[in-house]
Amino acid sequence: MSSRSLFLAVLLREFKISLTQKTDIATIFFFFLIVASLFPFAVGPDTGSLRTVGPGVVWVAALLSSLLALHRMFEGDFIDGSLEQFLLSGEPLVLIVVSKIFAHWLFTTLPIVILSPFVGMQFGISSEASWIMALTLLIGTPVLSLIGSVGAALTLGVRSGAALTALLILPLYIPVLIFGVGGTVAALQGVETTGHFSILLAFLCLSLALCPLATSAALKIALE
């Protein structure tokens, strides 16, 4: 079975399953919206202070939403035994994992990235900088999903899994957060942002190369 058709088969399967779990995806979407709109109540409505806080808030909200959605990645297939069948499929598990991570990002985190410019404008961020923020999120959130997948796989079937995943994964999110927000702030200040984007892309390549390996190894351990 060619790797392309395997990738698409897993993607199609995830799509069908996601169609039946629309409420899950909606809750994550609105979680992002709610977390982002909490801050004006905390920081005060004047756009001056909101603008300085804005990029950080949007990024932290996106990061927390991605973290919240992580359990959806493998838990369902782990509990009902589908993961075992994948292991026996004779197809490379790493490729199945990559496809599942991509599907997870596509269905839960991409909507957030699309929504983010509008939330950004709510924080008084200029439309031009908001689009750059959306671009940093477009490159950054897949890295969050990739790193998060390792945590999700490690804590499969472990009690207090969700809190534990957050504890394991959040420290690893820090570099992405730094350069994601850094890029947006640079855009706000009209400073050159290519440096930030090149580092974010470097993170993407590094995590694309390493995380699926760690995740499939962790899945095999969970299924022992």
Binding site: L167, A222, E224
Partner: protein, 238 residues
């Protein structure tokens, strides 16, 4: 090869006690002169007065916190790849000491920062990385604690340690870049006082002492772990 003889927990158990004793003595051999130099030879610093003497435990603790994490990740990887239980036990034994060193680095950093820069916490690049390193240690220990089966805990924590060790430099340089961007390098521990030779000697001796201590205490903890894991496979209680 003689070394392989010690590779099973059963053979390593008695040897660990001897190793611990030797390294405790070595820790004292380096520690006592180190402290003596630190307090009775090193002169008062013209800028920071006597407060800088905290450096003699702050820097060794910071070095050890980074060093132990790498050694821990190494033994965890060996245990994962070669499926040798003793290596995973060694990684498990190192984690609490590493976490302790990180905590001490943070504590002494705060106590040094207060008189020198007027605040208990400074978002300095190295201190912030130490804080993140503490989270990595806590994550490693928490993951181990929440998995019952010791073998699965060994393998899962090994993967986390490997992913962690890849991220430590990335986190350090990201934080370093972030620190210089937001605050400039005005307030930072990297500008340590000009290191007179005897100050440097004192710090190096203390670093060696901390290193010996870490090995010794990890050996004791490995024995404790072996006792916990092998308690009813018979050979332990004769």
């Amino acid at each position: 090869m003689r070394f392989w003889k010690y590779s099973t927990p059963q053979n390593f158990y008695p040897a660990a006690k001897k190793i611990a004793a030797v390294f405790f003595v070595l820790a004292l051999c380096f520690g006592i002169p180190g402290l003596y130099i630190g307090f009775f030879v090193a002169p008062t610093d013209h800028q920071q007065g006597e407060a800088y003497r905290i450096i003699f435990i702050h820097v060794p603790a910071a070095w050890m916190s980074m060093f132990i994490y790498v050694v821990m990740a190494f033994w965890a990887a060996v245990g994962l790849i070669l499926n040798t239980r003793l290596s995973s036990m060694l990684a498990q034994a190192l984690a609490p000491t590493g976490a302790l060193m990180t905590f001490l680095a943070l504590w002494t950093g705060a106590f040094w920062g207060r008189p020198t820069w007027g605040t208990w916490w400074v978002w300095d690049a190295r201190l912030t990385s130490e804080l993140v390193l503490l989270f990595l240690y806590v994550g490693f220990i928490a993951l181990r604690a929440s998995i019952e089966d010791p073998r699965r805990a060994d393998k899962a924590s090994a993967i986390l340690a490997i992913v962690g060790v890849v991220n430590v430099p990335i986190i350090y340089f990201s934080v370093k870049w972030w620190n210089t961007l937001h605050q400039g390098a005005s307030v930072s521990l990297t500008k340590a006082p000009s290191m007179a030779s005897d100050m440097l000697l004192g710090m190096l001796l203390m670093a060696l002492s901390f290193w010996m201590y870490s090995i010794a205490v990890s050996m004791l903890r490995v024995r404790k772990i072996i006792r916990d894991r092998e308690r009813n496979s018979g050979w332990l209680n004769n």
